[in-house]
Subunit: 216 residues, 2 copies
DNA sequence: GTCTATACTCGGATAGAC
DNA sequence: GTCTATCCGAGTATAGAC
């Protein structure tokens, strides 16, 4: 993956910067932060930071990419090393990530903001979001199809469509959550999964979704 | 609703401006448009436009408010004047609006952008979005509860939770759609409704959701 | 490789004439 | 009520020293 044969050192530092940046944004939040702020947060000048990432948008895109990298490593490597991870409960993993997100508001802000801006085909992050979305839905589609075959999920909807819906719900809830941080994103998504589970004929009925509060 | 006893004329023109602005944004799109562009689009100078709306954010907020006003008038007044409009198929109305949205990309962009920015409690549009969301979900909650009593909707999820989910799906799909305008937002939402409809025992089975394409 | 300093652009806001 | 003109700040990008 080394961008060029030369300066592997630079790449290493780049990664190091990204990791710290990730931390900073996660904790201190992103309010349309400027390059200067991000730079100072990692002990560099604006120019110093832009030395590694040519442009602001590139920097932000790389932060998001790094975030995914870390998340995937964490929520895929940790739990189990079983090769059947594809089948392994996607629902649980998804809920874990969503729960985790509510602990890194800055990243949620950055992500949501970029997702909208990157709608413009000219935006540097455009293809990143396209690819990311497609990948996500692909995994989902497979896992959902499997769950349908297993009988753990209603088959009254195409898996690919449901994948898209789950992506949309998560993204949409993030915006609602940013506006009102008291809502329980994971609980809501969980309730949706429940609603789409065929009536448990043999299962001990996993408690018919108490569903988080009944806010208007 | 007249802001002040005086200058009702100004208010009238304000409304007129908003209506035209709405049209402009809807057609020509919003790419982080500047006040100047918006001004020229309605034949005013930047200063002239800001005479009516003190600030950029106020202007944008008012455009969104106007949009809602128009949409509500259109999708509630037109169809029927029946007082039981509360009960009248919410699903149909929602799908209509979603379908309509895909014809006004600029407004979708503006809305999505603002929704994210307005997450900041300091943002002028913060309370607008809070109130708007609450209202929307309220209506949904009632209508969904009714549908559950009627048996047109699964009762395996709390109506208030589902309301939130539907809001999230619509918002989230808009972002996906901006990135890839080929997806069929209404079709996807429709598929979700179908999946949440109790198995039709007597109904002529509304065709088990062919569900729009099976994109990865 | 990193800094300081600066150049440049954009866009929102305001003053003041008409 | 609307314009022209101007100001000002923010923020990115770059030049060039060290």
């Amino acid at each position: 993956m080394a961008q060029r044969g030369s300066y592997a050192k630079g790449v290493a530092k780049r990664e190091e910067i990204l990791e710290r940046e990730l931390d900073v944004v996660a904790r201190e939040g992103y309010r349309g932060a400027s390059v200067k702020e991000l730079a100072e947060a990692v002990g560099l000048s604006q120019a110093g930071l832009l030395h590694y990432f040519g442009t602001k948008e590139e920097l932000f895109t790389e932060i998001l990419r790094k975030r995914d990298e870390v998340d995937i490593a964490h929520y895929r490597g940790e739990t189990s090393e079983k090769p059947d991870s594809d089948v392994r409960d996607l629902r649980t993993g998804y809920l874990q990530i969503i729960r985790h997100n509510s602990e890194v508001p800055g990243l949620v802000q950055l992500f949501s903001r970029m997702a909208v801006d990157a709608a413009d085909p000219e935006h540097p992050a455009h293809s990143f979001f396209l690819a990311r979305g497609a990948e996500l839905r692909d995994e989902f589609t497979h896992a959902l199809a499997h769950q349908q075959r297993t009988g753990g999920l209603t088959d009254r909807i195409a898996p690919g469509t449901l994948a898209r819906i789950l992506q949309a719900v998560a993204d949409g809830l993030q915006v609602q959550w940013m506006q009102d941080p008291t809502i329980d994103m994971a609980g809501i998504v969980n309730a949706l999964f429940d609603a789409l589970t065929p009536t448990p004929s043999d299962e001990p009925a996993p408690a018919p979704a108490p569903s988080p509060e009944e806010h208007g």
